[in-house]
Assembly symmetry: C2
Homo-oligomer: 457 residues x 2
């Protein structure tokens, strides 16, 4: 595919200049002071899409930050690719840990350093440039639509409504997203699953006031001890979760896909060494990759109660709290799971205490089949540029908007990300290797090519 390499080679510096223009806009969606930057950033994206050759592009209002929409319709009978990316970034604190200024991008040691360099300006912008490349070299085989949102880092609170309002306009055969990572620089991989999330807070109340543990200890139930017992009972000795009905909707992954998944490069020794643990933990009958990829989990994310200052205080506290989250696999419904949790937790609470369960947050899991046209196209495209067939890989993390796309638009997504785990997304010194940026731009046109070919069959 000589035309691809040639075009990238000839336009490299301009591509970077244009990306740097995007990176210089401090589009932090969670900080109200940056509202003007959000609009500026949306306008920049709109201009870039138009300059690349779109028929139209516009900044569309929501109740929050706007969404950029653009499209190039080449042929109503050709397949349509809907590109999703986000132009907002995370805050930069702690700023003192940055080696460069977060909104003054620089290239050093073969990497772009800036907030958003990977997540998701760098990865998103690859799609603008690949689109330009395909158009300018007369190699665009699909209709293209862009939706670039500005609230991904705050949970996309207004995107669902916008999707509902623009269902017709957004019609497409596949949603193409680059907002995930590879298993390694030379380990091409495609994220085929994301976990859902049900996050609750529990409160256990014993006596109606903090008591002296000498005068009451042993005669009045201590809510911390009770909370510990309750939480301890949520896993059995095989580390299965004991909530009745919890696994009811979990679909078994077939042995072939499990075998494929376990081919991912993974060294248990290196994993243990990196985390400084003697032994990995988890549900009996599953490997570490399976435990984070295809199995639901339950973790205490925070716990507190009683005296937590310096030294000793002999209090028998009135209350104890915990934040507990369950990562869910596709087909588990997060509201249902939160309800099952609450019902179970209330049922097992002994009569010495009162318990309250408050759902805090939730999202659905997602799974992308490995035999779909989009997966096959992405796989072939990556095989061409990486020289190796990519591994399907279920990430333990959650991108709730992906399941919302499926629910609202009825369109599957293909998660073809080029990030590396060393890119420090959400952290100081975020970076994105030049090699990944350009490899992404080179791989995307191949995806379109193969996707159009497979869809034609």
């Amino acid at each position: 595919m000589n035309y691809i390499k040639k075009y990238v080679e000839e336009n490299k510096d301009r591509f970077l200049d244009e990306l740097f223009g995007l990176l210089r806009i401090p589009s932090i969606s969670s900080i109200a002071d940056h509202k003007p930057d959000m609009r500026k950033c949306a306008e920049y994206w709109k201009e870039q899409i138009l300059k690349a050759g779109a028929d139209k592009a516009e900044v569309m209002e929501t109740e929050g930050h706007p969404v950029v929409y653009g499209e190039k319709m080449i042929d109503p009978s050709a397949p349509t690719v809907l590109v999703y990316a986000h132009y907002d970034v995370m805050p930069v604190d702690p700023i003192e840990l940055w080696n460069t200024k977060p909104f003054e991008p620089v290239v050093k040691d073969g990497k772009i350093w800036a907030r958003g360099a990977d997540d998701d300006k760098g990865q998103g912008f690859m799609h603008a440039k690949a689109f330009e490349l395909m158009l300018k070299t007369n190699n665009l085989p699909c209709n293209v639509k862009f939706m670039i949102e500005g609230e991904e880092e705050v949970g996309s609170p207004n995107l669902g409504k916008w999707l509902d309002q623009n269902k017709e306009m957004l019609k497409a055969d596949i949603i193409l997203v680059s907002d995930t990572s590879l298993l390694g620089k030379d380990e091409p991989s495609i994220t085929t699953g994301l976990r859902g999330l049900a996050y609750v807070e529990v409160e256990v109340t014993g006596p109606n006031a903090d008591l002296h543990s000498g005068l009451f200890g042993g005669a009045v139930a201590n809510p911390i001890n009770i909370l510990n017992k309750l939480i301890a009972s949520l896993h059995d000795k095989n580390n299965h979760i004991t909530i009745p009905g919890f696994y009811d909707d979990v679909m078994d992954v077939d042995p072939a896909e499990r075998a494929e998944m376990n081919k991912a490069p993974f060294s248990k020794d290196e994993y243990k060494k990196a985390l400084d643990i003697k032994k990995v933990w988890g549900e009996k009958g599953y490997t570490t990759l399976e435990r984070v990829g295809i199995r639901p989990t339950l973790d205490v994310n925070g716990i507190w109660g009683g005296y937590i200052g310096e030294g000793a205080k002999t209090v028998l506290p009135s209350k104890a709290y915990a934040k507990i989250s369950m990562r869910l696999v596709p087909n588990q419904e997060h509201n249902k799971i939160a309800e099952l949790f609450a019902k179970h937790f209330e049922a097992i609470a002994p009569p010495y205490v009162k318990v309250k369960v408050k759902p805090l947050h939730g999202g659905q899991g997602y799974v992308s089949p490995t035999d779909s046209p989009a997966y096959l196209a992405a796989s072939k495209a990556m095989e061409d540029t990486f020289g190796k067939k990519p591994i399907p890989y279920r990430s333990g993390g959650s991108i709730p908007i992906i399941s919302t796309f499926e629910e609202k638009l009825g369109i599957k997504s293909i998660l073809m990300g080029f990030g590396l785990s060393s890119d420090a997304i959400h952290s100081p010194n975020e970076n994105y290797p030049l090699e990944q940026f350009f490899k992404g731009i080179e791989t995307i046109p191949l995806f379109y090519k193969y996707f159009a070919e497979i869809m034609k069959k």
Copy 2:
């Protein structure tokens, strides 16, 4: 005993004036700024002891706040009573909850309101006035020694050394202490037991850094979940403590004493209502009074780990902590128990985590026999003034210095306190009913009288 009532009646107002002088000195031992007040308070006590008629009294130095010592030797062949009290008080925060100024004592609704009104200026000063009464009315049948310390509220860190240095001077037949409470205003009772304490802090470390609970949850042990399992395992289904050897040194209390103990006025319904609990909790086979009185316990006093702020954060934390204390009964050695705890906790920790146990604090339990001359004297004295035989009562609390007296000086203590549970010691609006103050002054001379009589036999 008409001379007692008469003397109290004639001197009531002066007694209160003198107590108020003591209460006005803000002798907070834990706050360095109050160092001059501590000395002022010690000097005040010295003057009061001398004025009451002691042969000598002095303010004796320690490495911390001084101890006041005074004595009146009437006859080498008479028994000697060593009075212990403390002149230091707790801090007054939260000051905004006080209805009056903590160091400006007032009488209202039949109670003295001030920091230290009960603990232990009010209760301690009864002994100065009772001593004066016995001397002035020619009714002192024993030698009397006073030791009034200034560091009780900070754990008496320097008193042990002072006891060692003054063993000869402190020789006595009994130590008389009023620093405890009655079961009720009309329920005379004598504290015959105090629990010891072993207080530890535990740290559980999982991975070497906080992790993303989506990417690692289910594959790496969560130290909070593990800590919860470990703590949950410390009680079995009968709420016995599972630490091997924990009960080895616990002495069984004979059925007669248990029966006596259970005669104490106690309404389980009122207890539950006051604490707003549906059910009391505790070790199988024991009543609520026995659970706090004669049985050792284990309580989590504080727990923390992970994200404890507002909302949801999906962290799999590196560390989790708990403060755990065990109340001990007489004969359980607190250092040994802390070691047993550490050994057990380390032994049950699974290989996924590292655990550390740090002893924070400890003290021995104490038990006073109910057939000793001092107990019998106190019992008769209270029976005279209350019109009812007092109940022997083992408190769940700890006054570590009492076991130190036994260990260092070889002298038992008699805990004849007149406080009420409504006195709000250590809290805002501390108070002491006038009735309790004067009843104490009237009871103490009777104790001396009966003690001398019984010792003579």
